[in-house]
C-alpha cells in the first residue's frame, strides 16, 4: 500500500552483507527497472520460500541467478534461476543489529 515495507532477515547466508536479524527496507515496484548485478532482492523461491539474496547474473534468457555471501549459503546452481515474476522487491537499505 505504501510502496515499501520492512522485513526481518533470518539465517546467516547473507552475512556479512546482511547479518542475521537485520531489517531490510524493500521497495517492490523498483523491480520494474533494470536490475543490476550485485543488488539485493527479495524473492519468492519455489523451494526455499521467501528469501533475500544478491543478484549474481541475468542470463540471456532474462532469468535471474541468485547467490548468498556466507560459505554455508546454498550455492548458486542449487538455487537455480528465477523469473522476474518471482522477485518481490529490491532491498534499498539494510539495518544491521548494533
Amino acid at each position: 500500500m505504501l510502496g515499501f515495507h520492512f522485513c526481518k532477515v533470518t539465517g546467516v547466508s547473507m552475512a556479512p552483507r546482511i547479518p542475521e536479524n537485520s531489517y531490510v527496507f524493500i521497495v517492490p515496484w523498483l523491480k520494474i527497472f533494470n536490475l543490476k548485478e550485485g543488488c539485493l532482492l527479495k524473492v519468492f523461491h519455489p523451494k526455499y520460500g521467501v528469501i533475500v539474496k544478491t543478484l549474481a547474473k541475468v542470463d540471456r534468457n532474462g532469468l535471474f541467478w541468485l547467490k548468498g555471501h556466507h560459505k554455508s549459503s546454498v550455492p548458486i546452481e542449487k538455487l537455480g534461476p528465477v523469473g522476474k515474476a518471482q522477485i518481490q522487491g529490491k532491498v534499498l537499505w539494510v539495518f544491521k543489529p548494533s
Binding site: 515495507h5 531489517y23 521467501v50 549459503s73 544491521k96
Partner: protein, 167 residues
C-alpha cells in the same frame, strides 16, 4: 538507533520474515546406516536363495521375490548415498592425508554396490560389507573412537565394525 526503533515496531506489528537460507552443516555422520543397508542386501540375497529352492513360485512367493529384489536395489542405492555423504561432507584434507586409501575405497564401494545390485550373489554382497566395514573403521579412527568387530545380533549375522563408545 534506527535498528532499535525497527525492533520495537517489529514486536508490535511483526514484519514478514525473509530467509537467508543456508545448507547448515549438521555434523551428524554415522556409517551405521550404510552398514545396515549392506546387511540388508545380504539378507535379501539369503531370502532370494530360499525361494530358489522351490521349483515353481506361488503368487505369495512371487510377491516376496519382487519385494526382495526391490529392497536389494533400494539398499544398494542407500549404501552409495550414505557413503557419499560422509565422504563428501565429513572427510577433509587432514583425514584424507591420514588415510590415502580413502578415495579408492569409496570408489570400490560404489562399484561393489552396483555389483551387489546387479547379481543375486552372496559373495558380492559380503564383499560390499567388507568394504563398508573398512570405511566405518576409518571413519571412527578419524574421530579418535576405538572400534571392535562383533556379529550383528540379527540375520544375516555378519561381522560388523562397531564404535567402542563409553558411557
Amino acid at each position: 538507533m534506527l535498528y532499535d526503533i525497527l525492533t520495537t515496531i517489529d514486536k508490535k506489528f511483526c514484519f514478514q520474515q525473509v530467509s537467508a537460507h543456508c545448507d547448515i552443516p549438521c555434523k551428524i555422520y554415522d556409517p551405521i546406516s550404510a552398514q545396515i543397508a549392506a546387511l540388508t542386501i545380504i539378507r535379501m540375497v539369503d531370502l532370494l536363495g530360499e525361494l530358489q529352492k522351490t521349483s515353481s513360485l506361488s503368487l505369495a512367493q512371487q510377491a516376496q521375490f519382487l519385494r526382495c529384489v526391490n529392497q536389494k536395489e533400494q539398499h544398494g542405492l542407500k549404501v552409495k548415498e550414505e557413503i557419499n555423504i560422509i565422504w563428501g561432507d565429513y572427510f577433509k584434507a587432514p583425514q584424507i592425508k591420514q588415510f590415502p586409501e580413502l578415495h579408492d575405497l569409496v570408489h570400490n564401494i560404489m562399484l561393489a554396490s552396483s555389483k551387489a545390485k546387479q547379481h543375486i550373489s552372496k559373495e558380492d554382497a559380503l564383499a560390499l560389507l567388507t568394504l563398508v566395514n573398512r570405511f566405518a573403521e576409518i571413519f571412527w579412527t578419524t574421530k579418535q573412537v576405538n572400534t571392535y568387530i562383533a556379529t550383528c545380533p540379527y540375520p544375516p549375522a555378519q561381522s560388523i565394525v562397531y564404535p567402542a563408545l563409553s558411557v
